[in-house]
Symmetry: C2
Amino acid sequence: MKLRIDDTSPIPIYGQIKNGIIQMIALGDFKENEKLPSVRDVAVALKVNPNTVSRAFTELSIEKIIYTKRGIGNFVKNGAEDLCKKKVYKRVLSNIDQELDILKKAGFDKKAIEKIINDMRSK
Amino acid sequence: MKLRIDDTSPIPIYGQIKNGIIQMIALGDFKENEKLPSVRDVAVALKVNPNTVSRAFTELSIEKIIYTKRGIGNFVKNGAEDLCKKKVYKRVLSNIDQELDILKKAGFDKKAIEKIINDMRSK
DNA sequence: TATACTGTGTTAGTTAAATAGAACACTAAT
DNA sequence: ATTAGTGTTCTATTTAACTAACACAGTATA
């Protein structure tokens, strides 16, 4: 299980779980119609309450990314991979854009920003 | 007052206010020993509780970025500009780094990432 | 075929944190 | 003393997360 929780993050745990699963589906770690790990298993793995995991799954279900069979498990929906790829890409770009804006406002010019990006890419 | 609150952000309001003021000091919008806008004025401007603003100021005070004169106001500390520049730079880089990591894990190669950055910079 | 068992998702009640509303407390000027 | 401007505290509400118990589905077995 790739998923990790960052206790210092302001993003609520159920949100981090949602994002993590969306990323994993985007990446093909969970294929369409594949069963996800159970609420309890995820809860144990992340040392988190089943309730919290259940909330993440419920919201993913509302967003039509997974579907739930009560008493059986949660499964990836058809078309979820593309949907998740779009979601991840959109969120990441929006976040990077926002951060670059801050650098721009703070007076870093294009060259400085370019250097920063290069430094990070080479790590 | 440049500061804006994002109601959809998971970052608590007092945290957004803290970050915003740190950015403004870094940018020179508030000079050292200059008086910041009052708790109430900020609260009204942001449509937020004075309490919430007070908390942000208290924490900035603990972090030695501003100092408080009760009954008078809050003021920027000596040396705050440099300190804030460092903080902003560090936070932004850490955030960008994290986002680029997600792109990398999602299978975007260096060229794709480079293109993304260029597209954003040119906007 | 009835019953119990195991694995699954879900609900109820509690605690802690963020925010709001209202009132309090300090400072300076008149 | 009174007033206007300031930061602060008290109390209540809402949301996230936890603990514990509940409810459903499939399977084994008596």
